[in-house]
Structure formats: C-alpha cells, structure tokens
Amino acid sequence: MIREFKDIKRDINEHADVLVIGSGAGGAVAAKELAEKGIDVILIEEGSYFTSKNYNQDPNDMMGMMWRDSGTTLALGLPPVSITLGKAIGGTTLINSATCFRTPETVIEKWRKSYGCEGLDYKELLPYFEKVENEISVTELSEDVLGAVYQVVKRGAKALGLSAKPLRHNVKNCEGAGICQFGCPRGAKQSTDVSYIPKAIQAGARIFANCRATKLLTESGRIRGVKGKVIDPSNGKAKHNIHITSKIVCLAMGAMITPAFLLKQRLANTSGQVGKNLTIHPCGRVVAEMEEEVNGHHGVSQGGQIDAFAGEGIMLEGIFLPPGLMTMSLPGVGEDHKYIAKHYKNLAAFGVMVSDTTRGRVFRPLLPGFPFSSWYSLNKTDTGKLKKGIEITAEIFFEAGAKRVFTGCTKMPILNSKEDLEIFKTMPVRAWHFELAAFHPLGTCRFGNDPGESVVDMNLESHDIKGLFIPDGSPFPTSLGVNPQVTIMAFATRTSDYIAESIERY
C-alpha cells in the first residue's frame, strides 16, 4: 500500500535501515532491489500517486497533475531551456517517452579513461542492463505501433542513404496511443510506478507519497536520517512533520533537485563539484507539413531513430505531441495558426538531441517555492551540432515530400523548399535563435575515484558522508548521447547490490 496525504493523519516518526528519497528511475529501483534483499526500506516521494484511472489523455490536465510546476521548470541562460520534470510516484519515468538505451560502451570507456572512473567496466554492467530491461519489459514494437511518422522519416532517410531504425520501449501491450508523456491510458508503459514500486511494496518497503524531504540529518560524517513535511497536494501546504532515522539514505530526487538540496544544506561538497557539470541533452524539434495525412498521434510518440551522426554527438529521435502542444510550439497567430491546427493530421515531427559539451550549473534555490535554480547557456560547438541536426532532419522531410518544414529557429522558422534549406544552411545563427527543450539532466553530483574531483565514489556513495548514496541521474560525469533511464536504473541496481553486501558496516 502507498500511504498518501489522505491516509496520513499525524506526524511520521519512523526508522528504517535504508531511506530512499524520490521514486523515479533511481529511487524506485533502489527501494525494490533493497527490499527484495530483505532490507527494511522506507521510500518518501513529494508527488502524489496516480494510476491509469486518473489519466484522461488531456495534456492540459496531465501537465497540471503530474509535471512539476505544470511543466514550467527551466534553466536560465541564452537561450533559457525548458527542463521538464515529473512529480509523482514514478517520478519523471511517469511522463517520459518510454525509449530505452543501454549506456554506450564508448561512454563508459570515456568515463574510465578521462573522468577518474578507473575500474568501471562495461562488461560488469551487462547483467545490470539485462536485469533492468527484464523488469521494465523493454521490447521492440511492431511497425504499426511505431507510427506513421516513423514511416515518413524512414522514407526520407532512405532517399538520402541513411537508415532509420525502430527505438526500443519499456511497454507491455502498447497499442500506440501516442500520449506517453501524459500518463499511459492503457497502462502499457512500464514506468517505475507500475514496474518497480509494486514489487518494492510486495517485498515489504513502506512507501509514502506527498512527503517532501527538507533536511538531511548527519552526525560525525555519517548519515542519520531525514526530516521533512507531509504536503497537502491540493494546495502545496505542509501539514505534518516527518522524522525518519536510518543507517543509509539514498538521495534520488533527480539531477536538478538533488544538488540543490545538498547545496542548501552545505553538505557533501568538499570537492566543490556539487551542482556543477550539468548536461541536459539539449533538443530541437523539426516539424514538417506533409501532403498526405500522417496521423502522427496514432503510434508511440517516439517511434524511430537515426544514429548515423551519433559519433558527432547528434541523435535524431521521433517525437510527436497532441494538438495543444504541437500548435503551441509552432509559429503563427490568427489564420496561420488555425491552418496548422486544422492540418494537424498532416504533420510529422522528429527531434534533434545533442550530446552536449556545454556545462551548466545547478545552484541552491534562490527564490521561494523553487526547488532549484540553474544556469545553462548553449556553447558554440553544441549550437553547431543542433543546427546540423535540424538541417539533416529538414532534408529528410523534404525528401519524404514535405510541403514545408518548421525549424524551431527564430532566424528562419519556416522552410518552404529545399532552396530555403540551402539558405538556412549558410545562415549564421547563435544559440539564442533556437527554442530549446531538454529532458535528460545529468552530471550534477558526478562520480569518480578522486574525492577532490567528484561528489560520489563508483558505488555512488558520498566521499564526505558515510551512508549517503546518490542513485539518480546526478552521478554521470558527461552526457550519454542516448536517453538515460536504463543507465540510471542499472547503476541504481548496482548500488543496491553494494549496499546489501555492505550494510552490516553501517
């Protein structure tokens, strides 16, 4: 059973061996793995608990319900970047696109050779990837479920001698309702609320929703537990106090909030690296108006990928959105806007994801009500990669027969022909000409063997505070170039093994 605000009538005073904070890709995995090994676990999550009975396929309602701050979280910079986060049992996995990748071997190599991660071995990680993929049912979907946008892109890519491949997803019986980021109405998506959390509960973990951690308790360099507040989800007001003691705390609030939480309390930062090294996989989106009806919303929202430019740090991945969000993100008001809305069925869209060399930073919350502050300003190299990705995607769409292409670049937002594309290619652009969004914050408590250069060790335990682990997106020292949930889950599983083996020492 998940205890929610309505079930909590008084202050919470509890003890557990391990306390997990956050129930997303990192936290839920740690809770389940540890509980199944017979360890006494409590998990607290700030967001509410939702089920498919609460999903109505309406992005407006769903963003308000389970996206942190209705989806308005961002990093300031030139340009500012929207970084959306989930706030619910399931964390951001509840609102993600269900795409699954293992960490590329080249990335692990890079960490080992250049980021002080000696001893990290790709082969050692393989059983963890397999385990995670089993738990969340990673599968290859049939062509009809992958959707028609994928077919359009495949056609255009083929004409250019490129190959578009299907993405793999963590779903069971997915029927391509195409609304994965707004709560899967079919219960098909295996986000952690439906995969890991039920198993954690079955194994005896105690799960509390609507409970916000506010302070870590430490004593002589050891973790002792956490204080927090029970939050009324209808108005955000704190109602009861939380005091949980534990030998171990797994901080898994995500790469934006975990570092801000530590910085606020001046903890675990002798390296000076907490909050630094933020990478986000900045994304651009290219939308095409096709002659034919595409019906892009009939199929998973992220169907296919083109990885031919991955070596250059450019991944092209599908992304399709319901009408309110699609029309919102395209230029035009009045008749122009209404034309696009009326021709929604003719739209196809694909995303450009940059493996960033830019480094942003998370700060302690500077304004009340915000869980973090952050700065991220896209550098010239990454701007170039983004532009190149947009050009390739536009070319693919024109080859597939697009009437016009929307670039997401304010310097030339609409390309009406291949000739326009040639002009766009020669056009000098700056980072702030792009509308940027990002979905994969990582790196803000990076791991490594050197306590002077990293926040946590290779088991994800703080170099400074014994018993404090960070099994979320924060420890990865560079961007992955691929979507991160499987990486986060695999490392959280590995850390759980380590905790289970060594718990007697705490």
């Binding site: 609460n54 309406d58 963003m63 308000g64 701050d69 209705s70 919303h297 309110g324 008749e335 809305a341």
Partner: protein
C-alpha cells in the same frame, strides 16, 4: 464564473491573448478562443494553480505588462490590449511574434497557457478532426491533486 487564481482583469487579458492567437471565423474552422473562453479559461486557471506562487504571479504580471505596453509598441496606440477588436489583436501578436525580439519568446510562453487549454476542449477537437486513438478508460475516476 469564479477562478482560483485569475482575477477579473486577468480573465480579460487572457481572453484577449486567446482571441489574438485563435480568432473566430476564417477558412479553417469557425470557433475562436473568445467563443469558448468560459470553457478554456478555467483550464488555464488550473494550470496556473499547479505552478509555484512566483511562476504564476510572474505569468499574470507578464500579461498585465503586455496589456499596457504591446499596443503602444506594436500598434502605436495608447489603448489597453483588452479594449482592442479581434482583428487588431491578431495584427498585434503577428508583429510581436515576427519581431525577432524577446516578444517572440514571450508569445511562445503565453501560448502554453492558451493552446493546451483550448485544444483539449471536445468541440475544438471535433472542429479540427482530432480524435484520440482510444477512448478514455471506462474506469476513469477523474484527475487528482
């Protein structure tokens, strides 16, 4: 109609923003934001109510600034935006969006509070021939805080 967050003035401002972006009539579909404001504005109000206090106050303040300054900047008129007829609102937003200045980014921000609330309405979905692939689950219990 009572709103949780929007004041009477905010309602007029967001209604004007809506009708400048999605005016009534035209070739593509008849409905405009003003025709259905009693239906989509509560949805905007809901989105705002789920933001933190500073974000929603910022959004409302932005609306107030635009109401006063944009007609001056883009139409050379000393009139508040809420008093402009729909065709002038469209011209105003068109100029703001294509200005290449910060105003273009602000339009995008404001569309967040207008497009998802508007295009999720049943009658609007019908008028653009949009239908979800599957109906909502039979056991739908309603959204939750």
């Amino acid at each position: 109609m009572t709103y949780k967050i929007l004041s009477n003035k905010d309602v007029k401002i967001f209604e004007a923003l809506g009708s400048g972006i999605i005016p009534g009539g035209g070739q593509h579909f008849e409905m405009g934001a003003r025709d259905l404001s009693e239906k989509w504005l509560p949805r905007t109000d809901y989105l705002l109510s789920r933001m933190n206090l500073l974000s929603r106050t910022g959004m409302r303040f932005l609306g107030k600034l635009i109401n006063i300054f944009w007609p001056m900047v883009y139409l050379r008129q000393f009139s508040q935006m809420i008093h402009l007829p729909e065709d002038e609102l469209v011209i105003l937003f068109h100029r703001a969006e294509s200005s290449g200045t910060l105003s273009s980014a602000l339009i995008l921000l404001l569309k967040v509070l207008i497009c998802p609330p508007f295009y999720g309405l049943k009658e609007v979905k019908e008028s653009i021939d949009y239908k979800e692939k599957f109906p909502n689950p039979k056991n739908f219990e309603g959204i939750k805080a």
